[in-house]
Symmetry: C2
Subunit: 282 residues, 2 copies
């Protein structure tokens, strides 16, 4: 009960402050990149991710499984078991289901059921393109969180998110709505790529207290220091720095989990060192 | 082979022209609304949808299963079987998987695999918020189609889609990109709600040849005549008019499939009558 009596945001804060980590490990298990000894196993996605989880849980503020890698193979049962494993064995670590759902009300309600009841996730990523009534069903339970796509780390992200309407780019409008009228219960966060530190800074200015889920570090090669400088909250936290491939595939042999742990430890420590130098109040 | 030797768009055109129907039946099986005799059946979603499909296949230009209703219950296997049934028994009718996916390249590739390899859908709905590199993986096979959210039928749709950037609302920008630089192979369509006929007309003007998937008729109460007047192409077709709840739940008893057929027939005939009066060239 004790871990679950805290909201998603409170659980994140415990990880940020007491466990001193802003690192999130993204669980994107690509069958063609798994260590050879998993090949042919029917539960390969689960077995691989479970090893990664057990090797890194004390170093992370959250795990972020990407549902597409499971759905492509009809392996949703493995995702269910994986999240159940995290909740049972690492109950302090919240799970963000990376699903980027977005649909009209009655359908969004079904997706919320998928994320929170079926999978037991603590938070979910969403696309805000359809507006607030497509997000509201995910906020029905105040213990849950929802991260809205705001400024994504991919090249094509600029095509629409950078369009300037009423004097502000679309991503800033999303940040402003997310920080104010859409955020009645303090459950909303934003997805902002580390690859655009200046824009990360704009989002932080518009949403001083929102948790920001930040992909783009590691395989996508963003400047970590610039991202932290731009994105840390005034309390010296507020960021969930995601790394997937650079940790999952740090090693390819039998010791892949140890190597993943080393990569995670290195990134976590690097973040903590920068965080100490950038945000003396933390 | 013959049905599959045509692209998604060509198959749609055959339905529009030779079968004289613009109607799409949306397969959104909500357990609480199914006829009583399905209750307790483990394959209730599949059994219900299969009856609806068999009762309406000759009247439709496409079926549109909504993945959320299956995912909420962990019933993806029923969705697989349902689409397999449509392909086997009604091979001329294309299947649009309503999934509204949208993610960066490597993940989008996994979602494309889900839609086209796992489920065997002919087309998929997508959110364009992350730009072209999030859409491209769905266009790898020229036989497939992709419908991008443009102007959605829900109230919250206006919050972002109506923002005016560089003199045009976001939904018009999406329509313009979809009709030009994003549409190298003629595989893209747009989702435009029937509830906003004026905007449907703007989209048609910007994208004269794109298939438009039009929800909002039926339970959402849009004006059918206004939608057709605004949205028909110069060939008198180009529209996929979706109705889900008004057909699925037309009857609640043992004769639900017959009643669904009657509702589908009525709407199809109504569309054809209007289409005849509005587009004499067709």
């Amino acid at each position: 009960m004790s871990a679950n009596a805290a909201t998603f945001i409170e659980r994140l804060q415990t990880r940020w402050r007491d466990h001193r980590t802003l690192l999130c490990v993204g669980l994107d298990p690509d069958t063609v990149r798994l260590p050879a000894h998993f090949s042919g196993r029917k539960d390969a996605l689960l077995a691989f991710c479970r090893d990664i989880v057990d090797a890194t849980a004390d170093l992370v503020c959250a795990f972020k499984p990407q549902v597409a890698y499971f759905s492509a193979l009809g392996a949703e049962d493995q995702l269910e078991t994986l999240i159940g494993h995290i909740r049972a064995r690492h109950p302090g670590v919240p799970v963000i289901l990376d699903a980027k759902r977005g649909d009209i009300g009655p359908t969004a309600k079904q997706y919320a059921r998928e994320a929170f009841e079926r999978y037991g996730a603590d938070a979910v990523t969403l696309s805000p393109l359809m507006g607030y009534d497509s997000i509201e069903p995910f906020l029905a339970n105040p213990f849950h969180g929802a991260f809205l796509l705001c400024r994504t780390s991919n090249p094509g992200g600029s095509e629409l998110q950078q369009l300037v309407a009423d004097g502000e780019p679309l991503y800033e409008r999303i940040a402003r709505l997310a920080a104010t009228q859409w955020n009645a219960n303090g459950q909303i966060g934003l997805v902002v790529g580390a690859t655009f530190p200046q824009e990360l800074g704009r989002v932080r200015a518009l949403a001083p207290r929102l948790p920001l889920l930040v992909p783009g570090v590691g395989a996508q090669g963003a400047d970590l220091q610039a991202a932290l400088r731009a994105g840390l909250s005034s309390e010296g936290d507020g960021l969930i720095i995601n790394s997937s491939r650079a940790i999952l595939y740090a090693g390819a042999g039998a010791s892949f989990a140890q190597q993943a742990r080393q990569a995670a430890q290195q990134l976590r420590d690097q973040i903590e060192a920068l965080r100490g130098s950038l945000a003396p109040r933390a």
